[in-house]
């Protein structure tokens, strides 16, 4: 079993909030003018990374199944005069880059993952195997765009971040993966988010041979 301990948790659960409202609510977390071109996903990712105060020595693992779907849709609509700004912001892992570039926070290890049914298991594995003393596991989605549809977007906007270290002292909980178990498994990002938000324990086959165990003290 590989395991790290949870020392900080942050969640963003803005419900039906529109991007403009999110921008107004989180504006103070960023330098003046920085939020003007940020996506809703970038804003809520900033909302959960801010209290964890990312450092250069941290490993940041970022998971998003759908990523910047609104920017993607707007970029596609900009043709034949493609928008350079929307091109940049539509590319995964733009959300974390929007935030850390605004804050000018370099980071040695940055592991952006996509995927769907096994994304949580693989993001957790990446965070648990990261070198260095602290890894930040974060993820999120923004509510689906109007036109793409067809499974190309998330039903809800959310973000979460967990600060993980090998030190059990004073931990809020633990996150682990054990081997063996089911030959298959799945766990959606939104379901993992809900467990983190509600501080609910989880024990679930999350990928082939990987059982995810989330526990709280």
């Amino acid at each position: 079993m590989i395991e790290r301990f949870i020392h900080a948790v942050a969640v963003e659960d803005p419900g039906p909030e529109e991007p403009a409202q999110t921008r107004d609510r989180l504006r103070d977390l960023f330098p003046p003018g920085a939020t003007r071109r940020m996506t809703q996903l970038g804003l809520v990712i900033g909302g959960v990374l801010h209290p964890l105060d990312p450092r250069e020595t941290d490993a940041i693992v970022y998971a998003s199944t759908h990523a910047e779907t609104r920017a993607l849709e707007a970029y596609l609509a900009s043709f034949p005069n493609a928008s350079p700004m929307l091109f940049q912001t539509s590319i995964h892992p733009s959300a974390v880059q929007q935030v850390l570039i605004a804050w000018e926070r370099p980071v040695g290890q940055f592991f952006p993952l996509a995927g769907r049914l096994q994304i949580v298991a693989h993001a957790v594995q990446t965070a648990l195997l990261a070198s260095g003393s602290r890894s930040i596991l974060c993820g999120g989605e923004e509510r689906k765009p109007v036109l793409l549809g067809q499974g190309a977007g998330s039903a809800i906007t959310f973000a979460f971040a967990l600060a993980l270290t090998p030190d059990p002292a004073g931990a809020l909980g633990a996150l682990a993966l054990s081997g063996g178990g089911a030959p298959d498994g799945r766990l959606l990002l939104c379901d993992f988010f809900a467990a983190v938000r509600d501080r609910r324990p989880l024990r679930q086959a999350a990928a082939p041979g990987l059982e995810l165990i989330l526990s709280w003290t």
Partner: protein, 370 residues
């Protein structure tokens, strides 16, 4: 048996596809100075300015449903040593920047919903995995043009943690109007052919199709990777710190691992001016005298697949005994270490492989041979 931490990371097999063919054909074409890039309309059949592109032979930029590039992946996958890929002990790491985003462009232009099957990254990977008979232990990595390096690093960590017997890193990016239009809007995909590391008045890149794989395991023998390193400047979306500090930070562990070796360097070298100058100057400083090459003046920038495509070509070059030079580079270059002509590589005992990406992301590693 030696503990996983002390065993070399061995490349059991590698392969690639570019506009010039498989790894051996690509290397041979590069050694002959062939340039796959040609001036084509930036939006494919929809027209636009002519820009340097290197799609697979006969491939149109406008996506079909299913994508025409699937046959390229089928051919490439046939070279992968058989194993229960995607099972618990045989994980797959799929890395790309664009995945099937050309399909989203197509659905937006044509309204044909069949394109959704390969539109989003997860959908593309699930589609390919089912087609190639993989299980679902497939990690999907998306970090723009350092995606392949990140996949190689995550594969190594899984192996060293004892979670896998072998790992497959599989990478692809196929150009579409989505990406050609974007780089054209950024004005770096323009009418000029790229001349990597050349001190010209105007920089320019080319874009190409690319796909590649590497099978990794722990053990002795053959080619090995070490000192895999990354650094993310987070200074600007499309620019690097002007002092080159981000490049140097990433290269430091590679330099330590390569001390005492005679090296050549496969750089990123897209053809942009500022990044090309920073890269070549920093590499010349960290690895004095080591010849530096880029192959993007022929193949174009194959985006998220470039790190793995160029790894496979580097191995083909080592097998052939000659390293292709920096095709289309023109003196004066930013440093005198830029190798324009091919050279014999028998006297070298290591290759530094480096890639860079949006957000000031840098990745590098050392390729060597027992």
């Amino acid at each position: 048996m030696a503990p996983p931490d002390s065993q070399p990371l061995r490349l059991r097999a590698t392969g690639c596809r570019t506009a010039l063919g498989d790894a051996r054909a690509t290397c041979a074409g590069l050694l002959l100075g062939r340039r796959a890039l040609e001036l084509l309309p930036v939006l494919g059949s929809e027209g636009g300015d002519p820009v340097p592109l290197a799609p697979l032979p006969g491939r149109n930029l406008m996506e079909t449903a299913p994508p025409a590039w699937l046959s390229c992946l089928d051919e490439l996958a046939a070279e992968i040593p058989p194993a229960p890929w995607g099972s618990a002990r045989h994980p797959v790491f799929v890395t790309s920047s664009n995945f099937g985003v050309g399909s989203l462009y197509a659905v937006q232009r044509t309204g044909d919903p069949r394109h959704f099957a390969t539109g989003m990254p997860f959908a593309t990977v699930e589609f390919i995995g089912a087609r190639l008979g993989w299980g679902t232990n497939v990690t999907v990595v998306s970090h723009a043009c350092v995606s392949a390096h990140v996949g190689l690093l995550l594969a190594e960590r899984g192996l060293r943690a004892g979670l896998a017997d072998r790992a497959l890193v599989f990478s692809f990016d196929f150009i579409s109007p989505f990406v050609t239009g974007g780089f054209h809007a950024l004005k770096i995909l323009n009418g000029g052919m790229p001349a990597p590391f050349s001190a010209r008045a105007t920089g320019s890149i080319g874009l190409g199709d690319g796909a590649a794989f590497a099978v990794l395991e722990l053990g002795q023998g053959g080619y090995r990777l070490s000192a895999q390193a990354t650094h993310n400047e987070m200074h600007h979306f499309t620019g690097n710190r002007p002092d080159g500090a981000g490049f140097a930070t990433c290269l430091a562990p590679v330099a330590a691992a390569a001390a005492g070796r005679r090296l050549w360097i496969k750089g990123h070298g897209t053809g942009t001016l500022e990044a090309g100058r920073l890269e070549s100057v920093t590499l010349a400083s960290v690895f004095p005298g080591a010849p530096l090459v880029s192959w993007k003046g022929s193949l174009g920038h194959t985006l998220g697949s470039c790190g793995l495509v160029e790894l496979a070509v580097a191995i083909a070059a080592l097998d052939s005994g000659r390293t292709p030079g920096t095709i289309a580079a023109e003196p004066p270059c930013f440093t005198d270490t830029v190798a324009i002509a091919p050279f014999a590589n028998g006297g070298f005992d290591g290759v530094v492989l480096a890639s860079n990406a949006f957000g000031g992301a840098h990745a590098a590693c050392l390729l060597s041979h027992d």
